[in-house]
C-alpha cells in the first residue's frame, strides 16, 4: 500500500525557539487550534512519560490516539539549535513530526508510524528537511515521497 504524507502548510513550524521538550510540543499543538491544543499536549506528554519517541539521529515522532478524530493528523516542527528530547541516543532533536490518530484501526496507525520512522531514518531525507527554508517547500517535500 502506498501512502502519502500530507502535512498542510499551517501544520509546519520551520524554526522553533522552544527551550524544552514540553514547550516544543506545546508549540506544535498550537498549530492545531481546531483540536484543543491543551488536550494534545496532555496526551502527547502522557505517552512520552511511558518512553521517549526520540528515535535517534535528531528525530522524534511523538504520537497518540485521540478520540473524535476523523482521520490521522500530522504536524511538524524544526528546531535549528536542537532540543533535549530524552532521545534513545541521548542526542538533541532537530526534527519533530507529531502524529495523532483516531481511536480505532490499530494496524493502520502502526503502519503509518513505521513508515514515517523508516523515512526519517534516511540521512538524505533528514538533510533535505534541514535545508528547506519555506513551509510550502516542506509540505511538498513530504507530499512528494511515497511511503513504502
Amino acid at each position: 500500500m502506498n501512502t502519502k504524507v500530507m502535512i498542510p502548510v499551517e501544520h509546519i513550524l520551520l524554526a522553533s525557539t522552544a527551550c524544552s521538550k514540553r514547550a516544543l510540543i506545546a508549540e506544535i499543538a498550537g498549530l492545531l487550534p481546531a483540536l484543543d491544543p491543551d488536550q494534545i499536549l496532555e496526551l502527547i506528554m502522557a505517552r512520552e512519560h511511558l518512553g521517549s519517541t526520540g528515535i535517534g539521529h535528531g528525530v522524534a515522532i511523538p504520537h497518540s490516539r485521540m478520540s473524535d478524530l476523523p482521520e490521522p493528523v500530522i504536524a511538524m516542527a524544526r528546531h535549528p539549535e536542537g532540543i533535549d528530547f530524552d532521545a534513545i541516543d541521548g542526542q538533541p532533536v532537530y526534527i519533530v513530526v507529531m502524529l495523532l490518530v483516531p481511536d480505532d484501526e490499530e494496524g493502520q496507525h502502526l503502519e503509518l508510524l513505521a513508515k514515517l520512522a523508516r523515512l526519517l531514518q534516511k540521512p538524505e531525507f533528514r538533510e533535505s528537511i534541514m535545508a528547506i527554508d519555506d513551509i510550502q517547500a516542506m509540505s511538498d517535500l513530504f507530499a512528494g515521497v511515497q511511503l513504502l
Binding site: R22, A23, M45, R47, L50, L110
Partner: protein, 459 residues
C-alpha cells in the same frame, strides 16, 4: 526533565536533592532566603526567591518549560493556588500539591482538570499514618509492606539467634519454609543493605526482607518457628499512642477499626478534649508522655505497641527509649529530621517512620518513567521497591528471568498476573500487563526504568 519545587522545607529539600542528583533540571522556589541558601549550597539547582503562587515568580523559575510541579510549601492554600496558576497560565503537565487539611482532601469533587487541577494530593501525615498502620497489621515482623492491593507482601525481619533461619544459605531456604514460595529480596549484615545472591548466608542478627503472596504470610511466619514471630492478632493488642496530632489521630482511628484497644496521651488539653470527642473507643489521656509516673499508672509494662507520634522528634525519641526500658515489644518512633533517622539504630530503636521519606517516595513514584504503581524504600533507604506494569513493547517482556539482563543489585521478587501471584524462578517470564515487583539499589533506578520503557510503536 524540568521540575519546579515550591517550598524548601524537609520534604521539598529532600525531593529537590533526589531529582537533581538524577540529572533533572530543578528549580526551587521559597520566600525564605536562608532556607533557599541552604538548598543552593547543597545541590545543583536553580533557586528563586519569592511567593510560590505568584505568576511572576513561577515564570522566573521557568514554569513555561516545566513538566512537573511539586507544591510542598507549608501552606495548603498556596499549594493549591500555585497548581491552578501553573495550569492556567503555564500549562505545566503534572501538578502535585501537599495538602494537610483533611477538610479539603475529603472532597474529591474539588479536584480535576476543570476544577482544581491537581494530579496528586500528598499528605505527609497521611502517608506516615498509612505506613504505621500497614506495618501494625503484621506486628510479628519488624516491617511489612503491601503491594498490588495486598496480593504481595514484603516482610522485614531480624534473624533470631536460635530460629530456623540462622546459619542457612538462601539456596537452602525452601527446605526451612516447607516448600512455601518466598524470595529473600534484601539482606542486611553489619548495617549494610544489599540485594542478596543464592550463596548469601543468613546469620543471627542480620535483617532480611522476604517477598511472599499475601495469603501465605501466616504460614510463612509459622514456618519461621521462633516465638518472636508469633504476634497477637490486632484485636488482642494493647496500644499506647503518644501524641494526638494529625498522625496520631489518623492512626488511632484506623486502629479502632481493627478492633485494637488504644490509649492515647496528648499534652495539649484542648486537643485532648477534641480527640476524646472525635474518637470512639480510644481512651484519651491528658498528660506528659515523658512522665514516668503517668506511664506506670497506664501500666506501660503490659503494652504491646508503643507508638511515639508527636510532632516533636526529641519527645518521640525519649518516649521510645523509656518504652524500651519497660520492654515494650513493638515500638514505632516518628522522626521528621534527617539527622535523627541516621541515629535511631544506634540508640536501639528499630522502627522509625519518617513523614519526609514516605512523602518523598509517594512523589517520586509519579516522577519515574513508565507506569509505576508503587515505589518505596527498604531498610535504611538504600534499597527501593518498585511495582510497575510491564506494558506491551517494553524490553522486560518474554525473556526467562535467568537470561534477562537486570542492572546490578536488582531482583524481581514477584510477578502479579491478574489475581495470580508468581514468586519467580529463573524460568519465569514477564508477560504484557503483568505487574512486576522489583527490588533495586537506588542508583540503578534509571536503568530499571529502561526495562519498562515502551517502544516507538506503542500508542
Amino acid at each position: 526533565m524540568n521540575v519546579l519545587i515550591l517550598g524548601a522545607g524537609e520534604v521539598g529539600f529532600h525531593i529537590a536533592q533526589r531529582l537533581a542528583s538524577e540529572g533533572n533540571d530543578v528549580s526551587v522556589i521559597d520566600n525564605d532566603a536562608a532556607r533557599l541558601q541552604r538548598v543552593a549550597d547543597t545541590m545543583d539547582v536553580q533557586t528563586v526567591l519569592g511567593y510560590a503562587s505568584h505568576p511572576t515568580t513561577l515564570a522566573q523559575a521557568g514554569a513555561e518549560n516545566a513538566e512537573l510541579l511539586i507544591a510542598a510549601t507549608t501552606n495548603d492554600e498556596t499549594n493549591m493556588l500555585a497548581c491552578q496558576v501553573a495550569h492556567s497560565l503555564f500549562k505545566v503537565t503534572t501538578k502535585m500539591a501537599r495538602i494537610r487539611e483533611a477538610d479539603y482532601v475529603n472532597h474529591p469533587k474539588l479536584f480535576g482538570r476543570d476544577e482544581l487541577p491537581i494530579d496528586l494530593i500528598i499528605s505527609p501525615e497521611h502517608e506516615a499514618a498509612k505506613s504505621i498502620v500497614k506495618r501494625f497489621q503484621v506486628t510479628s515482623a519488624v516491617d511489612a509492606q503491601e503491594f498490588a492491593n495486598g496480593k504481595v507482601q514484603l516482610l522485614g525481619m531480624r534473624i533470631p539467634p536460635k530460629g530456623h533461619l540462622a546459619g542457612i544459605a538462601l539456596s537452602e531456604l525452601h527446605e526451612v519454609v516447607d516448600g512455601l514460595r518466598t524470595y529473600v529480596v534484601a539482606h542486611e549484615h553489619n548495617r549494610l543493605w544489599r540485594v542478596p545472591t543464592p550463596e548469601t548466608v543468613l546469620l543471627a542478627g542480620d535483617s532480611i526482607y522476604l517477598a511472599v503472596a499475601g495469603r501465605d504470610v501466616e504460614r510463612l511466619l509459622a514456618c519461621m518457628g521462633s516465638e518472636e514471630y508469633r504476634g497477637k492478632s490486632s484485636a488482642q493488642r494493647n496500644v499506647l499512642i503518644v501524641g494526638g496530632g494529625h498522625v496520631g489521630y489518623i492512626v488511632a482511628q484506623q486502629l479502632e477499626k481493627l478492633g485494637t484497644s488504644v490509649k492515647l496521651i496528648e499534652y495539649n488539653p484542648m486537643r485532648a478534649e477534641w480527640l476524646a470527642e472525635h474518637l470512639d473507643r480510644t481512651v484519651v489521656i491528658h498528660g506528659d508522655a515523658l512522665d514516668r509516673q503517668l506511664l506506670e499508672e497506664e501500666s506501660i509494662d503490659t503494652i504491646d505497641d508503643f507508638l511515639a507520634l508527636t510532632n516533636d522528634d526529641e519527645t518521640n525519641i525519649l518516649g521510645s527509649l523509656i518504652a524500651k526500658k519497660y520492654k515494650v515489644g513493638h515500638i514505632v518512633t516518628l522522626v521528621n529530621r534527617a539527622i535523627y533517622s541516621d541515629l535511631m539504630r544506634e540508640m536501639g530503636l528499630e522502627i522509625t517512620v519518617s513523614p519526609r521519606l514516605t512523602t518523598a517516595s509517594a512523589i517520586l513514584r509519579h516522577v519515574r518513567k513508565g507506569r509505576i504503581f508503587d515505589l518505596s524504600t527498604l531498610g535504611d533507604g538504600t534499597l527501593e521497591v518498585l511495582e510497575a506494569e510491564a506494558l506491551k513493547t517494553s524490553a522486560i517482556l518474554n525473556i526467562p528471568l535467568s537470561e534477562l539482563q537486570l542492572p546490578e543489585n536488582t531482583v524481581i521478587g514477584a510477578i502479579i498476573r491478574g489475581d495470580k501471584v508468581i514468586i519467580p524462578n529463573g524460568d519465569s517470564m514477564v508477560e504484557p500487563n503483568d505487574h512486576v515487583l522489583l527490588i533495586t539499589q537506588g542508583t540503578a533506578l534509571r536503568e530499571v526504568e529502561k526495562l519498562f520503557e515502551v517502544g516507538l510503536e506503542f500508542f
